[in-house]
């Protein structure tokens, strides 16, 4: 059965690959590249959110999450292939990003940002971000895997010292990523809080992916000792961060709505028009209202069936959120056709195969961590 599902995933990935190749030749260049940017950002933010969850455990010295830690550690490995995908996406600059052309720079608002928005510096920033993420992954997740063999407790102290530094790194790099890859699609626009907004979505996606993957492993009997109390904490996190995401999203919207400055509101204007407004409404309902109300009762937060559905919903909504931010920049009404479907198949199956491969390469729990036992004994 497991081999079977792997073959199905590979088949879907191959189908997606063929579709993506066809999209490169037969669909509009803008549409191909915007899909590419969307999907690498989707998996990248999921990986970064997971790595943040790992760092959070080290910073606060949480014990309950030790048995679950290998799950976000494994998901964080997505930053490696997605870092490569980001480097590939540099090829999209001329197609998608108006500030690369002399015509785009004629707008004085954009010309004023030319010192930041130019191709060499952009590529340098992307490369620096990818390097920093890979190095952080190596310290936090690689060190944890090494500890499986050595059982060396010094790793915990090193991780604890590195984790706050990683949070600073993530705060800066995710802001740069949000500004560069998303908001510079419409370079006249600016929003200070935009990096926080992307981070909120990323952390929620990381949490949802962690919950989903943990439920999957637990169902397969590979997370023995992880009980409803551990799940309850994941459910609580999901609940809390739906509110955080909405709070930040609304804070950004409300200030721009109040100030009504043309170079700010045009971004929302394009994203409220017609069907895009409907998508924003769907985000408000399914990214916030539904998961918020569903997760209120205590018993629900540790119910695997509900958590499974909520996690799937949150991941779908994270995709929709990115879609809503990115796609209006190429103009026109929302589109979803075979190119989008092919990208979804390719990146999702690729991501699943990659994460599974990493997970199967070792223990599903940090067996060398001295606090594992304490974590397994955690009760609410």
């Amino acid at each position: 059965m497991r081999g079977n599902s792997r073959q199905v995933t590979m088949l879907a990935g191959a189908l997606g690959l063929a579709g993506v190749a066809a999209a490169f030749f037969f669909s509009a260049r803008e549409r191909f590249w915007i899909n590419w940017v969307l999907w690498f950002l989707f998996l990248l933010t999921t990986g970064l959110g997971s790595l943040f969850l790992v760092a959070l455990e080290h910073v606060v010295g949480a014990r309950w999450s030790v048995p679950l830690r290998r799950v976000p550690e494994t998901l964080a490995s997505l930053v490696l292939p997605m870092g490569a995908a980001a480097l590939v996406a540099l090829l999209s600059l001329g197609t998608l990003y108006p500030w690369t052309s002399a015509e785009g720079l004629r707008d004085p608002l954009v010309a004023g940002k030319a010192a930041w928005l130019n191709e060499p510096f952009f590529a340098l920033r992307v490369a620096a971000c990818v390097l920093l993420w890979a190095a952080s992954y190596r310290v936090l997740a690689g060190g944890s895997r090494r500890q499986d063999r050595t059982g060396d407790p010094r790793f915990n102290r090193r991780a604890r010292r590195f984790a706050p530094l990683f949070m600073v790194i993530l705060g800066l790099t995710i802001t740069v990523t949000a500004f560069d890859w998303i908001s510079s699609l419409e370079p006249a626009w600016y929003s200070d809080i935009f990096g926080v907004y992307v981070f909120a979505g990323a952390f929620l996606a990381g949490l949802a992916a962690t919950t989903l993957f943990a439920l999957h492993l637990r169902g397969a009997g590979r997370l023995d000792g992880v009980g409803p109390d551990h799940l309850h904490n994941l459910g609580g996190f999901l609940f809390a961060f739906t509110v955080f995401w909405s709070y930040i999203g609304f804070a950004q919207y409300m200030l721009m709505w109040y100030a009504n400055i043309p170079e700010e509101v045009f971004w929302y204007e394009a994203r409220l028009e017609g069907a895009w407004g409907g998508i924003l409404l769907a985000l408000a309902v399914f990214h916030f209202l539904v998961p918020f109300l569903v997760l209120i009762p205590r018993a629900v937060k540790s119910d695997p069936r509900v958590l499974l559905r909520v996690s799937l919903l949150m991941l779908a909504m994270h995709w929709l959120d990115l879609y809503w931010m990115l796609f209006p920049s190429i103009g026109g009404a929302p589109v979803f056709g075979w190119p989008e479907l092919s990208f979804a198949l390719l990146f999702l199956s690729g991501g699943i195969l990659w994460v599974r491969r990493i997970m199967d390469g070792g223990a599903t729990m940090p067996v060398g961590d001295p606090f594992l036992r304490e974590g397994l004994e955690f009760r609410l």
Binding site: N260, I296, R379
Partner: protein
């Protein structure tokens, strides 16, 4: 008086949370009395071990949060939409976006107060200042590093020896029999007087500190954000414009919308002006709104020259409904509104052209009202 000799509870002391939870498992079911645990900090799994039912606090918080959200919404709709509609930053009066922060904060406030106060006062019944446990030897230990399990009486007598043996078998290091609190006596007059005196003293201290604080530090402004901003005040200069003047004259050869230039130079020239508005009920209402807002403070709500400001300034505003004023033409009244007269300043910038003419109509209504004809009261009369 036999009850006072009966024990309130039998208390066993344990030195680890694990020992406490194990002991609960052993004692539970072997006695019909209530079990209660005392710990210096929250112990995970204690509620489950004691078999507590689900706490109602979640439901209370949800209901209060909901009430908070609804009250905030009603408050905002009522104040901004009904009682005092005020256009802010050119937004519609009922803008849901502006309502959200207050809605959110008040929901959180209600929910947090319900959670905190509901838990402490309603469910935990604090402050239990006369709780029997407070008079025990063990309390000092239980607030530091020991864990207590008590078999408590809810009024029924306890078999203290058997319970002590039971707790001892469950691993208690020490046993204490807790006596009930003495019956409550009436409050003494000295205690009452002391309490009142302290409240009075606190009020005086707060008042004195506030009074002298403002006297001594009058210019300490806690937040200056909006006072200190780059803005142009009326009559002030600005280096931004070539002529150095901050206020701008209208562009040459243009007029504002709805405000054509006023040409007559004198009242005689204005005599010929004709009120362009029809005398309909809607116009009268508009005129009344303009008159009551701008004119009534001096000329009086009835046009009798007895407004609320006259007493303060000793001025003698014109009685609009009597004598010479009745003979004025519409154009002459309009001229005075636009240019002012004697102590009366021009109202051209406060009233639009339509509002001025509507106010003229309304002055005529006030005059007519003094000696109305029977036909005025007939249904459908103008």
């Amino acid at each position: 008086m036999k009850r006072t000799q009966e024990a309130f509870s039998v208390l066993g002391i344990f030195d680890t949370p694990d020992a406490l939870i194990r002991a609960i498992g052993e004692v539970k079911g072997k006695t019909g009395h209530r079990l209660e645990a005392y710990t210096p900090y929250p112990v995970h799994g204690l509620d489950r071990a004691l078999g507590y039912r689900k706490s109602p606090i979640g439901g209370m918080v949800f209901v209060m949060g909901f009430i908070g959200a609804v009250s905030a919404l009603v408050l905002e709709l009522w104040t901004s939409g009904w009682d005092y509609p005020l256009v802010t930053a050119g937004k519609p009066v009922l803008s849901w976006e502006a309502f959200v922060p207050i809605l959110f904060e008040i929901t959180v406030l209600f929910a947090a107060l319900a959670a905190g106060l509901g838990m402490l006062l309603l469910l935990n019944r604090l402050p239990a200042l006369r709780h029997p446990m407070l008079r025990t030897r063990s309390m000092a230990l239980l607030t530091r590093d020991r864990f207590g399990l008590a078999v408590e009486s809810a009024g029924e007598p306890l078999d203290t020896e058997a319970l002590a043996a039971l707790l001892g078998k469950a691993g208690a290091l020490e046993i204490e029999v807790v006596e009930p609190s003495p019956a409550r006596g009436p409050a003494s007059p000295t205690a009452l007087a002391t309490g009142l005196a302290m409240i009075l003293l606190a009020c005086l201290a707060a008042a004195g500190t506030t009074y002298w604080g403002i006297k001594l530090f009058p210019r300490v402004i806690p937040m200056v954000h909006m006072l200190d901003q780059p803005r142009l005040d009326p009559q002030s200069g600005s280096p931004f414009f070539a002529d150095g003047s901050g206020m701008r004259p209208p562009v040459e050869g243009t007029v504002s919308q709805g405000a054509p230039p006023y040409l007559p130079r004198s009242r005689q020239e204005a005599e010929g002006l004709v009120n362009p508005l029809p005398g309909t009920a809607a116009v009268f209402r508009r005129g009344r709104a303009a008159y009551d807002t701008h004119c009534a403070v001096c000329h009086g709500l009835l046009g009798n020259g007895e407004g609320s400001l006259t007493a303060a300034y000793g001025a003698r505003p014109t009685r609009l409904t009597a004598g010479a004023a009745r003979e004025l033409s519409d154009g002459a009244i309009y001229h005075v509104i636009v240019t002012g007269k004697n102590a009366m300043p021009p109202y051209a910038s406060d009233l639009t052209e339509d509002e001025r003419w509507a106010a003229v109509h309304y002055v005529r209504v006030l005059e007519r009202a003094l000696d109305a004809l029977d036909t005025d009261f007939q249904e459908g009369a103008r």
